[in-house]
């Protein structure tokens, strides 16, 4: 590499790096000169939307992120909460959307790898992963390829690295045809006093590079790929997608946890988006120090890498550690035993500058503050989209007709069918702590140190958010609260992944700001602070934005691992109760979309106070040992939820009666918040009824479990009312199980599923 080979830096080159002319002028101002080529690269990644949050920062301040359980809020690699007995849960969710659309296997795999590093960097052993996946319509030409690739990548990485993948969500909607969402979540567990932060300190302390060698992969992943819209030519950006090596990650986890058990680490951070640059700069910024790197010492895959490429590479499975002087030998010894590279590549300085040298020449020297606090922050224009969606005219659509057939169709639809094809490709057992396996409302992972457990779920109904971002985002939080509650967990805190379109569109910023406000309000009321998260903008293809998708990942605390519940009906002759006062409506429902291709104009209303009372009561029942079967009623409504409970178990059916005053479709398939189904042994039913009455929470005895059919009759004064639904659980199972494998197999001949 010789200096003459670097291009001349000017405004046009800055534009090519995704910076604006104004931003380039600001950079020249910060430096008091024209940046070097390397410095321009560093600024372009650090000031990218992905790294700087320049469009979202002002809004994210609205989130509540403190509270009695919070040990570490946003700003570190992941957040942490107190889970009792001196133990902490560390977790975060992050997007890997654009890479996964371009190269689904590696995009998803490296998304998993990145979030794992964010968690074990905090000193926590990863104990569970999840992911929230949004694909285009099932019969879109790319869906089967993307589904197979993403699920393969999540499994290929997660299984090999040895962390169980215990759940998540999979959604199909035409709105993601040209821009899928892959959000990866990891939960770790650590003792309070062993939480590590990424704050560099101690002038003269060595900076260590641990892990894989640096290659050319992922250069400009954060700046150009993640921070701009998809266009026709985006396919050519495949080289910006990184390649994962789960074996090295597995070694990195063991080595780093062993290193962190000692006393030699001052600060530690993974090289994620924007690689060596952002990890060094962020550590220096938090610690209010400088860092000087000697790029000649960076381990390279090929000797020809330029300093520019070294600074911007997003090669995976690499960590930066600031060690206590003299501790580098012990750290190096541990790395050698695990077969990992460990090299001193620089030192902490007191000049608060990020400096990099190569071949004795200074290629970058930038004030750290200019890269972080000095990054531009934008108050993007906001405007509410004009024109509402048409209100639902119920008279214009026929009622359900054959409700049994409708239920079979619903349960076999892309969004409600069994996710088995997905989660059976993930190792959910490794770690020997998975108490509630994937497939239900939330997964539950035991914490041996406390005797308790943690429930995890990922939720967002983007159709609700599209109809009303404020209310829809509140639903996402409320559903997550219910989903952990039905496993026996009290909602504790969330990490959010805010997936939106181009923030330069005022309508997108309106969706974003309203969703943040709604989510903030819900989190305040539920006392579930936002302790970490990620914003993914520019989810657009050819100018079309995705539906606004603020994914909520929730962690709930189970007091005793011995007292949990699942959605499965496992015993005959139990009383079925409907808990909570949610009133079903067709607007926004899966049924209305599936049957009539309509959305209506508003999602169901949210009553946060009622949600809390209902969820708290449900958790109490499970803690008392009165309830082992509980299920949240959400997408697809009451009939779908009942079917899911039958299907989650060995095939035991149920017989229930439902008050149908108006439309049958609304009563059976209408959606609302605040409804939970419980199966309770007869001798405990009275206790449940008394407790609900005392708490003032509506509770209806709607029937009993038993038989091998799902039977719903219209409630009447007579001993038995007219049958509305009567279908064999085996028939439901056939419909429920066949759809996802068909979607995965691709649209051969006839398309696998119908879309609007």
């Amino acid at each position: 590499m010789n200096a003459a080979a670097t291009p001349a830096v000017d405004e046009q080159l800055a534009l090519d790096h995704g910076l604006t002319a104004e931003e380039y002028a600001l950079i020249c101002g910060h430096l008091g000169r024209t940046p070097t080529f390397e410095e321009l690269g560093v600024f372009s990644v650090m000031w990218s939307e992905h790294c700087s949050y320049k469009s979202s920062r002002a809004h994210l301040r609205k989130f509540p992120n403190s509270g009695p359980v919070v040990l570490q809020g946003p700003g570190e690699n992941a957040g942490a909460i107190d889970i009792g007995d001196g133990m902490a849960a560390v977790f975060k969710v992050e997007s890997h959307n654009h890479p996964s659309y371009i190269e689904p296997y590696q995009g998803a795999a490296t998304g998993v790898g990145g979030i794992l590093r964010d968690v074990f960097t905090m000193g926590a052993r990863p104990v569970a992963s999840m992911n929230s996946l949004h694909f285009g319509r099932p019969d879109h030409e790319k869906t089967s390829f993307l589904l197979g690739g993403v699920v393969g990548g999540v499994g290929g990485y997660g299984n090999s690295v040895g962390v169980p993948t215990v759940g998540g969500q999979v959604v199909f909607d035409p709105g993601y045809d040209g821009n899928i969402l892959v959000n990866a979540f990891t939960l770790g567990v650590v003792r309070h006093d062993r939480i590590f932060l990424a704050r560099a300190g101690g002038t003269g302390n060595p900076v260590l590079y641990i892990g894989s060698k640096t290659g050319r992969d992922g250069i400009h992943g954060a700046s150009l790929l993640a921070s701009s819209e998809f266009k026709e030519e985006s396919e050519q950006m495949k080289p910006t997608v990184q390649v994962g090596d789960p074996f090295t990650e597995n070694l990195l986890i063991e080595a780093c946890l062993e290193i962190m058990a000692g006393e030699d680490v001052v600060a530690i951070q993974d090289m994620g988006a924007a690689g060596l640059t952002s990890s060094s700069v962020e550590m220096a910024s938090r610690g209010e120090v400088g860092i000087k790197l000697d790029l000649d010492l960076i381990p390279l895959r090929e000797a020809s890498l330029t300093p520019y490429e070294m600074l911007l590479s997003e090669s995976q499975e690499r960590m930066v550690v600031v060690a206590r002087k003299g501790g580098e030998g012990r750290i190096g010894e541990i790395c050698r035993r695990w077969g990992l590279e460990c090299v001193v590549v620089g030192e902490v300085t007191d000049d608060r500058r990020f400096t990099a040298t190569f071949g004795g020449r200074e290629v970058a020297s930038i004030p750290v503050d200019a890269l972080t606090d000095g990054a531009p922050a934008y108050e993007r224009p906001i405007s509410e989209p004009s024109g509402r969606r048409p209100a639902l005219d119920p008279d214009a659509i026929a009622d359900v007709g054959d409700a049994s057939a409708a239920l079979v169709e619903m349960i076999g639809s892309a969004n409600l069918c069994s996710r088995r094809w997905v989660y059976e490709q993930y190792d959910s057992y490794v770690g020997a702590n998975t108490v509630v396996q994937p497939g239900g409302d939330a997964a539950v992972v035991r914490v041996r140190e406390t005797g308790g457990a943690l429930a995890v779920t990922a939720d967002c109904n983007a159709r609700y958010v599209a109809l009303d971002p404020y209310v829809g985002a509140q639903h996402a939080v409320a559903e997550a609260v219910r989903n952990v509650a039905v496993t026996g967990a009290r909602a504790a805190a969330i990490s959010d992944c805010l997936n939106f379109g181009n923030p330069e569109k005022p309508e997108v910023m309106w969706q974003f700001s309203r969703a943040v406000e709604g989510m903030s309000e819900a989190c305040r009321v539920f006392e579930t602070p936002v302790i970490s998260g990620n914003v993914s903008f520019y989810n657009d293809n050819q100018g079309d934005s995705i539906p606004p998708t603020p994914v909520v990942t929730m962690v709930g605390i189970v007091a005793s691992a011995a007292h949990t519940a699942t959605s499965a009906i496992v015993r005959e002759n139990e009383v079925l109760f409907l808990l909570g006062g949610g009133q079903p409506q067709l607007e926004g429902s899966e049924y209305l979309m599936l049957r009539h291709c309509l959305t209506g104009d508003a999602p169901p209303p949210v009553d946060l106070g009622a949600e809390i009372r209902t969820s708290d009561l449900c958790v109490g029942f499970i803690e008392e040992g009165w309830v082992q079967t509980a299920h949240d009623v959400s997408d697809g409504g009451l009939a779908t939820a009942l079917a899911e409970m039958c299907l989650a178990g060995p095939g035991i059916g149920c017989r229930v009666h439902v008050a149908i005053d108006g439309r049958t479709d609304q009563a059976l398939f209408g959606e609302s918040g605040c409804r939970i189904l419980l199966a309770v042994q007869e001798e405990l039913a009275l206790k449940v009824e008394d407790a609900a009455a005392a708490a003032g929470v509506p509770l209806q005895r709607i029937g009993a479990t038993g038989g091998n059919r799902l039977v719903i009759e219209r409630r009447s004064e007579e001993a038995s009312g007219p049958l509305v639904v009567d279908v064999a659980v085996a028939d439901l199972r056939r419909a429920w199980e066949k759809t996802l494998p068909e979607i995965a197999a691709g649209p051969v001949g006839e398309s696998a599923a119908q879309s609007c």
Binding site: G162, Y426, D427, V430
Partner: protein, 239 residues
């Protein structure tokens, strides 16, 4: 004799090593130590488990590199002397690669990783890891693998079937395409057993099944029998 002391081999990339140690020590109350791949010191253990995972990343062929590690030289010698060796999942793949068990494990028939509970039928109780079980019993034990399809040439297949070396069979059909629905096999002497399902993940009632306990608990009885002078064949014949 006192309860046998177990060793669990730790390769780089092993995943279920910690779970196997947990099952042996915490759940079953047995003595167990990790055995590091780069060492050939077996630390005086009475039985050895090769755990599941992706040893050395398994980027070449599952188990292909692990069988050349220093610890495997010692494990092989231990097995040849009649020591009980259990290979679980990746451990089974390694035993086949090392020539301690016949056959090979290839990609699953559907080319996908499979993780779910399977039901195993006990076919032989003449081994170190099944002598405490009842022939014909059905055990609920999870599988989780991408390369678990047991393959072997027809002559060897006929001979292992005839010798009673098929220890476990998938009761409801092989999920991975294994020949004869074979889930686990033993050496001719019965001291070496490999299986794809994970008995260490079926020991704790809180996590589901406890049907895997019997495999680990069999070892004490096997070693007692050996000490009493009974041969493997005699044990097999007595059932």
């Amino acid at each position: 004799m006192s309860a046998p002391k177990w060793g669990v081999v730790v390769f780089p990339g092993s995943n279920d090593d910690r779970d196997t140690l947990y099952a042996l020590e915490t759940v079953l109350g047995l003595d167990a130590v990790p055995l590091w791949h780069a060492s050939s010191d077996l630390q005086g253990v009475d039985a050895i488990a090769l755990p599941g995972g992706f040893s050395y990343g398994d980027y070449l062929r599952a188990g292909a590199l692990a069988c050349f590690s220093p610890i495997m030289q010692a494990v092989t010698a231990f097995a040849h002397e009649g020591g009980p060796v259990l290979g679980i999942c990746n451990g089974f793949q390694i035993l086949c690669e090392a020539g301690l068990l016949p056959g090979a494990l290839v990609r699953n028939r559907d080319l996908q990783f499979i993780c779910r509970t399977e039901y195993l039928k006990v076919e032989s109780t003449g081994t170190a890891f099944s002598c405490q079980l009842e022939k014909g019993d059905t055990l609920a034990i999870p599988v989780k693998h991408g390369e678990g399809c047991f393959a072997v040439d027809p002559d060897t297949l006929a001979s292992i079937e005839k010798n009673g070396q098929v220890v476990f069979r998938y009761a409801e059909g092989a999920p991975n395409g294994s020949l004869d629905d074979i889930a686990g096999i033993s050496s001719e002497q019965g001291n070496v057993v490999g299986l794809m399902p994970h008995p260490e993940h079926a020991v704790d009632a809180l996590l589901g099944s406890t049907d895997g306990r019997g495999l680990f608990e069999s070892v004490a009885r096997w070693l007692e029998g050996e000490r009493g002078g009974a041969t493997a064949a005699a044990q097999g014949a007595s059932r």
